[in-house]
Symmetry: C2
Subunit: 362 residues, 2 copies
DNA sequence: ATGAAAGCGCTAACAC
DNA sequence: GTGTTAGCGCTTTCAT
């Protein structure tokens, strides 16, 4: 590739060629104004022709500021995290920071290792979908500025979607459609969001006089949903709320596969509003969280801390959510809620579409 | 956050405490074996109790090896890139490298800027979905090890899916179903993959005696597909091949929205096998590329170059693809290929499912 | 406004 | 095997 170890063009090279001291060159780039306009111009000129690029690592060594931020996700292949990272990226880049990505691949050990490696090179960390315990996170937060995204950790600045409000809106929506009993299909047992959603649903159900059942935990993917659908048949309901969209989509599949019509027989709601939610048939009613905005907000908070702000350790920043109504929810049918005969062909109330309050999902 | 500028625990601190020279400490960590086992043990011990962590930036400054790799993507929110990045991540991490993410946000200027900033901090770069011209890429490849992913650039090591073979398989599949004329819905005009797919389709069509039309270019998203569907109606075909899955899904939507049945009236095929492909109704027949494997392969090649390998500037590495047959393609109906009456309700041949050759898509 | 010199934390020669 | 001594490229006092 490179012929012979091409040494960088250094500040000294520029200094010599411009007939000034190294410190002057340094000032020209980091502290303009503290240097004579004419000199600065000349230096810049020379630097340009010499092809000088300031070396961020050397700068970091001497300033103890790397201008890098780490974002830790549990699975970058998951579009939910992709969106968050995108938000982080844009804010970081704008502020002159570089983003270092650490993917824990859903494993605790990998996560720790990734963190260990990234830590000394960054000025701060965004933890999105961490597997670590609250305590472990607090320990890290003591060493470096940390902002947690998508989960509230006491004593650590956090940014979370308004899950509670989302759950309440879902309950109200379903109640408005005449449903009187809901079933919640829980996600991973350890999930913070799952807990919040369930509890909010519980409160809302009480307020609205709805009966509420819970099933699960399930792995938060389509397969998990299909399995959950089987259980659902044992104790039929007219409305199910799933921990997330993947699970909800699986539930719809499982239900339909067994001859239950959605939404005619059962309404289904998810959380997240992933891209697929509007592509499936029927479109999935879901609670949309501002993923990208969340990443951006977390990063702004992080940068503030990096630049010396106290780090608001009070209540977490709560991001507004939005109920996106699509075809998977409908008026409760007056018919019994028991599964239709399995011989019935899956008739198409398919012609669902666009009543959707939906906006730009991608 | 931190009370008072906590200076790092340095190699000197450890050296003093262990009663050895700094270089010995250094060796203990970077070149074990070159140091007395007993001494090494003691050093490690001391380092541990002191909480010493070697500073990668300082190390980089002195060795000119940062142990960081940059991966440039055009949109990290796009699951296709997410998968690739995941592949990059795992290989890089395994090899002790850290990944620096640069998202060009589909903009040339952002891409250049991101690259400029990342370049001096990394040992090599994976370019996934770059907007830059081949020439520009070659320039960069002269300065730093570069591997291009998903596109072949002459004189620069590249890793690409076997688009040509994919296109041929699609043509054969469709021909096998009795289709005699295909329409290709092109993606972005500037896309390298689009060109390859089109040309391969052209050859295959000739071989198989199929008529082939082309429409587009279209923006490679669902909306673009819906628009393309309108054009399609003007000159009906029984089979359409779209540049990618999003576009294909859009086409299916557009077609169905206008009363054309898929696959009964028209078969539709996409490329990529994104997650949504198996979730839509009917499931989308598509060409699956090993995204993650691609990221991994590119990274392995990059690491080899970083470690001094020549950088195979010959033919690109070609990754095998796989045709995933789902419900969106079917035997050509003997009926005319003209669109069904628009008044016809969208009847459900919906009961598609699982004939699919599909395996693990996520 | 500019220059000189010391040092960030680590590694790489080169002695011993 | 281990210690000594220079730097890597940049910023930062402290002088001037």
């Amino acid at each position: 590739m490179d012929g012979e170890r091409a040494r960088d063009v250094t500040i000294y090279d520029v200094a010599r060629a411009a007939g000034v001291a190294a410190s002057t060159v340094s000032r020209t780039f980091s502290r303009p104004g503290r240097v004579n306009a004419a000199t600065a111009e000349r230096v810049r000129q020379v630097a340009d022709t010499l092809g000088y690029r300031t070396n961020p690592l050397a700068r970091a060594l001497s300033t103890a500021r790397t201008h890098m931020l780490a974002v830790l996700v549990s699975d970058i292949g998951n579009p939910v995290y992709g969106e968050m990272v995108r938000g982080v990226q844009s804010v970081a880049t704008q502020a002159g920071y570089t983003v270092l990505l650490a993917d824990s691949q859903e494993s605790d050990r990998t996560e720790r290792a990734a963190l260990e490696r990234a830590l000394p090179s960054v000025d701060g960390i965004v933890l999105a979908g961490s597997r670590m315990s609250d305590a472990a996170i607090r320990v890290i937060a003591k060493q470096k500025p940390v902002v947690v995204l998508g989960r509230a950790v006491v004593d650590v600045p956090s940014v979370v979607p308004d899950n509670a409000r989302g759950a309440r809106e879902v309950a109200a929506h379903l109640a408005g459609l005449g449903h009187s009993a809901l079933t919640y299909v829980a996600g991973p047992a350890a999930s913070w969001a799952d807990g919040v959603r369930w509890r909010a649903l519980l409160e809302a159900a009480e307020e609205l006089q709805l009966r509420l059942r819970r099933t699960g935990p399930s792995s938060p993917d389509v397969a998990g949903g299909v399995r959950a659908a089987a259980e659902l048949l044992a104790q039929p309901t007219s409305a199910v709320v799933a921990y997330n969209d993947q699970l909800a989509i699986g539930v719809v599949r499982g239900l339909r596969g067994r001859g239950v019509r959605v939404p005619a027989d059962v309404s289904v709601v998810g959380f997240d509003n992933v891209g697929a939610a509007e592509l499936v048939t029927p479109g999935l009613t879901t609670v949309a969280a501002p993923l990208q905005a969340g990443g951006a907000a977390a990063t702004r908070a992080l940068l503030a801390m990096v630049q010396g702000a106290p780090g608001s350790t009070g209540a977490p920043v709560v991001l507004p959510v939005r109920l996106v109504v699509r075809g998977s929810t409908a008026q409760r049918s007056r018919k019994s809620t028991s599964p239709a005969s399995r011989t019935t062909t899956v008739s198409a109330s398919a012609a669902q579409a666009s009543t959707s309050t939906d906006a730009g999902s991608r």
